[in-house]
């Protein structure tokens, strides 16, 4: 079967066709498109971006991302884990907030710095 999809790797958004049996891809501008197409029909993954609650910071939330794409089917479970965390400011950009999320080997990392509030 041929599946139509849009590659999400970059803003080009190539419209690609994936043969689900032969695992071949056409319409991709670059090799990442091919990898994406195959991954989508075998084991789709997504980069997760979200926020984590901060205590004592100048803002209430620190933005985070998954260090690698994680399986699409784990996204909401991942959100549950992320939602449990309360992290104390200051938080440096790049800090690993959750290590090895749901045993995937993927970390959740802070993508901005949140300074502590001066009281």
């Amino acid at each position: 079967m041929i599946k139509d999809m849009v590659c999400i790797n970059c803003p080009r958004g190539c419209h690609i066709k994936v043969d689900t049996e032969a695992l071949t891809v056409s319409g991709n501008f670059c090799p990442r498109g091919k990898a994406y197409g195959i991954s989508e029909v075998t084991d789709p993954k997504r980069t997760l971006t979200s926020t984590v609650a901060v205590t004592g910071g100048v803002i209430e939330r620190v933005s985070v991302k998954s260090s690698q794409p994680i399986e699409k089917k784990l996204l909401f479970k991942a959100m549950d884990e992320i939602n449990k965390i309360r992290i104390k400011a200051p938080v440096e950009i790049g800090t690993v907030i959750i290590e090895n999320l749901l045993s995937t080997g993927v970390n959740i990392i802070a993508t901005k710095t949140v300074e502590a509030k001066n009281d």
Partner: protein
Amino acid sequence: MNTNRDLIIIGGGPAGLAAAYGAFQEGLRDILIIERDDTLGGILNQCIHNGFGLHRFNEELTGPEYANRYEEMVKSTSVEIMSNTMAINLTDDKEVTVISSEGGLQVLKAKAIILAMGCRERPRGAISTPGDRCAGIFTAGAAQKYCNIDGYLVGKRIVILGSGDIGLIMARRMTLEGAKVLADVELCPYSNGLARNIAQCLDDYDIPLYPSYTVTDIVSDKDHQRIQKVVISKVDEHKKPIPGTEISFDCDTLLLSVGLIPENELSGKAGIELDCRTRGPIVFDNLETDKEGVFACGNVLQVHDLVDNVSAEGERAGHNAAKYIQNGEPISKIVKVCPGPGIGYVCPQFIRVDTMEDSVNVFFRVNLPENNVTLVLSGNDGKLASVKKIRVAPSEMESLKIKKEYLNNCSEITVSLEENHND
């Protein structure tokens, strides 16, 4: 504090940061950024999703990470930042009035100014959506701020009007935070967002897109005046609602993602001429406005899709502002750049032929999505260059290279769209 500066940049978001860096690279040292917020980075601070930086840094970054890259670059320079400071007036004489809690009111003068104020979201009134006026109606950006910075959920059952990127991104964001997004409603027959965003924001979460629909009524709960229902209707080819096609959604929130407008209040105060199509300043190839020594870049000049392009434009504005301070106003024959058939606007609108770089990129958007077309550059004597495209859309900014030699016998150059005939 010294109130006579070489370069003042109004706005410390991606455009302003890039402009500061660009000016510094060109050798300028006295550079001041005026930023109204506490931190630099502008709107990127709340754009926590990824998709930024693939061109500029060859990496996929989130908004805050992209902003951080430029902040680090600027931190390593002598650029001065005045944060929590708002520019409240600009004269055509390059005088900027700023206010802040710490500094009071100050009038600063500069040899050159770069406008980098970004843009604002169109409100409900811009499209005259009828119905009740009640709590629970937000622009997508405001909902994004509540969610990503302040940590509030604006609603649990959400209808989104507009399928541009901001609407699509918020559809995903609210879903991941536990809300139910009932529909994304789009006036045009096609979404105006990037195809990748439709895939990863709507399709991934089975959020239905309603193309050729619009919101035709908003109903609030009478006692508390919070939204409780949204009615959408199909529209005809003139974008007018078709009676009898109504679909209701019981919801508690309506998010509006119905367009961005460059924020040119200050530019207006300085009497800078604006292009009615871009709603940003009219500029020369060096990004200078019609006021000498005042430059513009980023979303205040033209609404961009990719922050990478904003940075490139910002760095160019910075270089050119520095060059202007060093060498003075360029003197040259001027060629006008015009949008032709199929093209919504062009930027820059004028080119100084004698002082331009070897080539100038003209940026533009097409009016309608089309397949198999040719983008054409023509001068007074006919076609100068053309590029075939498989697909173009209003949501994706395009560019063409205008080479210096094209402009030898030209007073006007036009960008237009032609359909491909099967040769």
